[in-house]
Amino acid sequence: MEEMLPVEETEAAVEAILFAAGHPVTYEKLGAVLGLTPGEARLLVENMAPSYNSKSSPRGLHLLLFDNACQLCTKEKYAPYIREALGIRRGGNLSASSLEVLAIVAYNQPVTRAYIDAVRGVDSSYSVGTLVDKELIRVVGRLDAPGRPALYGTTEKFLRVFGINSLAELPEAGPELTSLPKNPASQTGTDHDTGTYSE
C-alpha cells in the first residue's frame, strides 16, 4: 500500500485480511501489503498470537502460525456449537437397525458378528461398521474358533451416550433375552478377559 497504517492499526488490518482470506496468508504477502519485511510481519503476527491462543483469551478464534504463513480459524472446543449452528449434524441419531445391533452387543457382550447376524436374521455388517465408526462398540477380543472372529463389546462412549455409569444399569431386558440363541462367546473358551469391556 502507498499509505502506511498507524502502528496500532496494523494488527487490526492483519485480522481483517486473515478473516477475509479464510485460508493461510504468507508473511511475505502480509508484509508487502502492510509495508513490512516478511520477518517483521512474522514478528507482528507472533505478537498477536497470545491474544487469540492463550488459555485466558476470551476469543473464539485461534491464530495458527506456520513456517511461512498464518491463518485464523475457530477454536476446536467450539466445533460442536458451530456444527449445530450451521446444521452440520448428520448421524446424531441411531437408526432402528443400529439400535438393534447395539442392544445385542450391550446385553450379550462379547459377541461375534455371526452371532449378531443370527439373532437379527440379517446381515448386520453395515450397522456394526457404523457403530464402530461412532465409537459405540469396539473389538474387545477374538473368539477361539476357526477364523478367530472378532468379539465386539460396548465402549465408555456408549455409557456416556446412554447416560448410564455401568452395564449393570442397563434396563432389565427380562424375558426378551431368554429367546435369544446361545452366545458362542459364552459357550466356548475365549482368550479374552470377559470381565472388563472398557475402552
Binding site: 477475509a20 480459524c73 466445533a79 448428520r90 441411531l94 437408526s95 443400529s98 438393534e100 431386558a173
Partner: protein
C-alpha cells in the same frame, strides 16, 4: 446546432430527459410550461434520430403523451375545472427525481461500506462419530423387537410340517391384502409386510406377492438414503417399499389376473 450533441444514452429514460430540460429551463415542476418543454423534447428526439441514434420506444411514447397534454391544455377548461392535465406527469417526475436523489445517497454509502467484506462459510467436516444422547430404554425396546421377530420365525418353522391341513392363501388374495396394508402406511419394510405371516408357507406366499407387485411396478423399492445413515437399505428385512401412485407407470391389472390368479 454546432457542437450540441443529442445523446439519448446519457439519460436513463424519458423522465430523466424531461428532468434535465426542466432543470435547464429553471422551471417549476408543478407548473411546467408544457409547450416549451414539449418542443424542446421533440427537438432532442429528432436531433438524436438525425444522428442515427436508436430511439427507445419509451421516448416516443412520452413524446405523444406530451403532445396530448399540450393539446388538452389548449382546450377551453370545462366548468367546474377538471384536474390539471399536467398533474400525472408532474407526480411521475417528482417521484422519479426523488428516486434519483435516493440512488445518489445510496451510491455514496456504497462507496464506503462495500468495503465491508465477508468470508465464505468454513468447510467443516461431518463428524461421523457424533452421537446424540439416547434413552437406554431404546435398547430394551430394540431387544423386544428382535425377540418378537425371532418368536415369529420359530413359530413359522414349527408350523411348517403340519401345514397340510391348513388353508393355503392364494397369491392373488395376498396381493390384495398387501396393497391394502401399503395404502394405509404408504411405505413399509419387508419386515413389516411379513410380520403377520404365521407359517413359512405364508411368508413365501407374501414374498411372491411382493415380487409380483414389484414386477408390475405397483410397489417400488425406496433407495433414498439421504435421510439417515443407514435407513433405506435395499438389503434384507429392512428393505423399504413404497406404493407407486403414478398409475401411468403401473402395468395393467389384467395381466396379473391372467398370470397369477
Amino acid at each position: 446546432m454546432g457542437a450540441l450533441m443529442y445523446r439519448l444514452d446519457r439519460f436513463e429514460g424519458p423522465l430523466d430527459l424531461l428532468l434535465s430540460l426542466i432543470n435547464k429551463n429553471k422551471v417549476n415542476i408543478e407548473d411546467i410550461p408544457i409547450s416549451l418543454i414539449c418542443s424542446q423534447y421533440l427537438e432532442y428526439i429528432s436531433g438524436a434520430e438525425a444522428m442515427n441514434m436508436e430511439i427507445a420506444s419509451e421516448f416516443l411514447v412520452m413524446a405523444s403523451e406530451l403532445m396530448l397534454i399540450k393539446s388538452r391544455m389548449l382546450l377551453p377548461r370545462p366548468e367546474p375545472p377538471e384536474e390539471d392535465p399536467r398533474r400525472e406527469l408532474a407526480d411521475a417526475l417528482k417521484r422519479y427525481r426523488e428516486a434519483k436523489a435516493a440512488a445518489q445517497r445510496l451510491a455514496e454509502r456504497y462507496s464506503i461500506f462495500s468495503g465491508r467484506m465477508v468470508k465464505d462459510t468454513d468447510e467443516i467436516s461431518v463428524d461421523k462419530t457424533f452421537v446424540a444422547d439416547h434413552d437406554p430404554e431404546l435398547l430394551r425396546i430394540a431387544m423386544r423387537r428382535i425377540s418378537a421377530y425371532m418368536e415369529a420365525v420359530e413359530e413359522a418353522s414349527q408350523a411348517f410340517t403340519p401345514m397340510l391341513g391348513r388353508r393355503v392363501v392364494p397369491v392373488g388374495a395376498k396381493i390384495e391384502s398387501i396393497l391394502e396394508q401399503m395404502q394405509k402406511s404408504g411405505r413399509s419394510t419387508l419386515r413389516e409386510l411379513i410380520a403377520n405371516e404365521a407359517t413359512r408357507q405364508d411368508v413365501i406366499t407374501a414374498f411372491i406377492a411382493i415380487l409380483e407387485l414389484i414386477r408390475i411396478h405397483r410397489l417400488l423399492i425406496d433407495e433414498d438414503i439421504s435421510e439417515g445413515e443407514d435407513s433405506g437399505t435395499v438389503h434384507g428385512l429392512d428393505t423399504v417399499f413404497i406404493l407407486n401412485t403414478d398409475e401411468s407407470t403401473v402395468l395393467s391389472d389384467e395381466r396379473i389376473a391372467h398370470e397369477v390368479y
